[in-house]
Symmetry: C2
Amino acid sequence: MSSPTRRPGRPRDATIDEAIVAAVFDLIEEVGLAPVTIDAIAERAGVSKATIYRRWATKDDLVVDAVAGLIGRSLELPASGDIRAVLVAVLRQMESFMSMSVAGSIFPWLVGEVAAGTEIGRHYAAAVIIPRRADLGTLIRQAIERGELRADLDVETALDLIIGPVIVRKLMGRWRQPEEDWVPKLVDGLLAGWAP
Amino acid sequence: MSSPTRRPGRPRDATIDEAIVAAVFDLIEEVGLAPVTIDAIAERAGVSKATIYRRWATKDDLVVDAVAGLIGRSLELPASGDIRAVLVAVLRQMESFMSMSVAGSIFPWLVGEVAAGTEIGRHYAAAVIIPRRADLGTLIRQAIERGELRADLDVETALDLIIGPVIVRKLMGRWRQPEEDWVPKLVDGLLAGWAP
């Protein structure tokens, strides 16, 4: 193993990044997204503003990267399993993110940016939506190849049907009255039409 | 028939309302939503600012009412027909609204307001989303009663599945590459799982 003293900056950088991201989420939970400033983030994380600006050009960039990191961790796609298990896991992970208190502030902002096709919206789509959608598309195609889903299933339409209800429910604020077991009900409804 | 002179104010009011709403859409098409001002709307419609403020407290209120009127006209639910015809018609009407150039400016703003649960977002939900969703739910329940859809279909989940893909496609900007016939494909895919 190489000496831990070879590149001493790396471990410290990661710790600083983590402290900054943790400060972002703490502050968003406390006051919402709009009032959070780089000043407040720097103070909460115990770093200088220059340290933050060396890593991110704007607060928006920082928040998008923080969300991308959070979703990257919390929405891991299962590597195996039949397609029912995969879809239930993916939707439960999306539900779990959507139910987090930070999502309450971040989702309306991000959904507006994505819809408007702003730079932030495109950054978020490129960092989170497009790769996750591609991964899920691959899992659907593999299920078609295994004969679990019908061969003529349109994968893009299937992706819209899996993701759409989560977005609609979040938009309409219906997460506030959580319904037990809506995820397996939704998945079973979809799979009934997707059987070979 | 009553004399047309009995309530002379009414027809003029409607004409003024129409001129104001037409001016709103003209200006949004020309410059986008954000830069449009009550001043510019008044000038374009040929009315005074006071005339507008007598009807609407803010520009946002005016825009929401204008959109509600537009969607109320353009997204009429078919009164009869089998459920396939109803769903194809509803989705084609939504697609048609989403493809209008004004929707390009209005949709990102409204979706953010609805997601954030602001006063404007709740106004739009109450004026447009909730009644339209209720109407479509009634049509689905009638199709269940006629035996066209399976008796244990969850109507709220079905509504999310019908509406979700349109929202996702618009959010992701995929309206720019219109795919022919995605609507009947989507409806046939849904109905395959919803048959009795």
